[in-house]
């Protein structure tokens, strides 16, 4: 029988481990500080140079902030496998009586914390340096946007873990590359309608597309889909299930092919 305490303890193990690793890795500071801050500064300066209206600058800025939050959060999920791949200790996880869910939930919790930190920092910087207020829509819409970002990050992170379990080190770059592709298709700096038909169709299948659209509507931008939040949540729930099934199947395959052992040698 499932014990909730046992479930929570196993997930907390991954969360605590990600926190311990993050606290001792100077490069993780770059993920938190350097790229998100640089992104806001670039967007702010570009807005000044092009003399963009505040709402147009906000359109791009919100995209940039979402990008930073999703990237940071999904990396934490990917780290749940990457750390062990790098240290060749992966087999110890799968020798223990845990499920895929413990690994993904625990690391996601830390991703959410780091994503929130990025959000607060970039929002404060945007206001202080450029007088752009991405929180102007109010707390409710902000929370919904953040939820969309974190759900998307979870999905991408789990798919990256699946790729690692399927292809080993050859898939390592997907941890950084995949999110760029996903967010480019999701209309991060532009409405979906500006994309070519095939790309727009792909973008329409990505949950964050709808959360961005819903949030931007509070700044006067047109909504292209009928019920963006409902669609976004429905897609996210479906992908979360699919991503977990994919990772489960990938781990089973790694046990079959021996890749799990190879990645631990």
């Amino acid at each position: 029988m499932m014990s909730w305490r046992r479930e929570a303890v196993a997930a907390w193990a991954f969360a605590l481990r990600n926190l311990q690793m993050a606290s001792r890795n100077v490069f993780l500071l770059f993920e938190l500080l350097f790229w998100p801050v640089l992104g806001v500064v670039q967007i702010g300066l570009m807005g000044r140079f092009l003399t963009l209206k505040p709402e147009d600058a906000l359109f791009i800025l919100i995209g940039q902030m979402a990008f930073s939050i999703v990237s940071t959060c999904q990396l934490d999920v990917a780290y749940s496998v990457l750390y062990d791949y790098w240290s060749k200790s992966l087999k110890h996880h799968f020798l223990a009586p845990i499920g895929i869910r413990h690994l993904t939930v625990g690391s996601w919790v830390v991703g959410i914390l780091r994503g929130l930190l990025v959000f607060v920092m970039t929002a404060a910087l945007a206001w202080w340096a450029f007088r752009l207020n991405p929180l102007a829509a109010g707390i409710g819409p902000v929370l919904l946007l953040l939820t969309g970002c974190f759900l998307t990050a979870w999905i991408v992170g789990i798919f990256v873990c699946s790729l690692l379990m399927l292809f080993g080190g050859r898939a390592e770059t997907s941890a950084w590359a995949s999110i760029n592709l996903v967010l480019a298709l999701a209309g991060i700096y532009y409405p979906l309608s500006t994309l070519p038909g095939w790309a727009a169709a792909m973008g329409a299948a990505i949950p964050i597309t709808y959360f961005l659209e819903a949030y931007r509507s509070h700044f006067g931008f047109a909504v292209e889909s009928a019920a963006p939040l409902t669609t976004g949540f429905a897609l996210a729930i479906a992908y979360i299930g699919l991503a977990h099934l994919t990772l489960h199947a990938s781990v089973n395959r790694a046990r079959r092919t021996g890749l799990l052992l190879k990645m631990s040698e």
């Binding site: 303890v9 193990a13 790098w86 087999k91 223990a96 009586p97 499920g99 046990r255 052992l261």
Partner: protein, 311 residues
């Protein structure tokens, strides 16, 4: 009661997409291990020892065969077996900048330990593995011996009924190996733990194991106690001699002498029956005027059995 009951287990590793390469690792291995025993798996590199251990520990899925571990069908319900078993290997590795208590804490939580119970268990194992003076040192700064002790400590977190040890003393100093072997023996003696270990050190196998199986080419060639194996292989007896100068006669041409080799200044003649061949051996050497400084008659050791089987 059997701790392990594996029947007809086969595994072939496949690689390559265009040029498909197949490497058979196990070819229908069957193995039964009683509870509370220390069982050794010996064999040359690539024999299939680690593959078999990994299948039994649920890290690898076999192509065919039935595997029951502690009464659990591990192909159907591996998670049930995982709670009750654990594994340590000589080349184990953990996250580079975590410290021993953090590593043990992490894996302890995966086995459901938390709060005071987890802290107590971690401290117990740190004491057992003599890691207390190194508790603040990051993993990648620990010596090989300390890393191996930590790996063993990690494998005891869930107080397993069945413990797999893959070359546990690989690369360790002799004094550390001796202490580790004593500890492994105490696990069986005091806790009744079943232990399956692979090793390249014959002395280790002879000292620790109640029973030994020799694997080669993915098949078990022989199994039994160390003494039974020596009898099964029919190596005969070893007459070890030390001379004042190289022997002028070809001892291997004498009747009943199976093999002659040199080791640490001793000439070792493996003969079919020492009692029968020794008088003739001494007579020939005496006739040649060779002075014998030392003479020993003994049974062949496990290493010689290993060499014979691996041949």
């Amino acid at each position: 009661m059997l701790a392990i009951d594996a029947r007809n287990v086969a595994k072939t590793f496949r690689a390559g997409v265009i040029r498909r390469r197949e490497t058979p690792a196990l070819r229908g291995v069957s193995l039964a291990v009683e509870r509370g025993r220390i069982f050794g798996l010996l064999g040359p590199n690539g024999a299939g020892k680690t593959t078999l251990l990994s299948i039994l520990a649920t890290l690898l899925t076999p192509d065919r065969g039935d595997v029951y571990v502690l009464g659990v069908d591990v192909l159907r319900a591996p998670h049930l077996a995982r709670r009750r078993l654990n594994m340590a290997s000589g080349n184990a590795s953990f996250l580079w900048n975590l410290r021993a208590p953090e590593i043990l804490g992490f894996y302890g939580r995966l086995y459901g330990l938390s709060g005071a119970a987890l802290s107590r268990r971690v401290e117990e194992l740190i004491a057992v593995a003599e890691l207390a003076p190194h508790r603040r040192v990051p993993y990648n700064e620990l010596s090989t011996g300390l890393k191996q002790r930590l790996a063993l400590a990690k494998s005891l977190l869930n107080d397993p009924e069945l413990l797999f040890l893959d070359e546990p003393t690989l690369g360790l100093d002799p004094d550390v190996s001796v202490r580790l072997r004593r500890y492994i023996a105490s696990l069986r003696r005091e806790r009744g733990m079943t232990i399956v270990l692979t090793t390249h050190y014959m002395r280790e196998a002879e000292e620790l194991c109640d029973e030994i199986a020799f694997i080669k080419g993915g098949q078990i060639l022989a199994r039994g106690t160390a003494d039974e194996l020596k009898r099964q292989i029919l190596l005969g007896d070893v007459v070890a001699l030390r001379f004042d100068r190289p022997a002028p006669v070809r001892l291997d041409r004498l009747p009943g002498v199976v093999r002659v080799s040199e080791r640490d200044g001793w000439v070792e003649c493996t003969v079919d029956v020492a009692a029968k061949r020794l008088p003739e051996l001494l007579r020939v050497l005496n006739a040649e005027g060779v002075v014998i400084r030392d003479l020993q008659v003994r049974e062949p050791d496990l290493e010689e059995v290993f060499v014979e089987l691996a041949r």
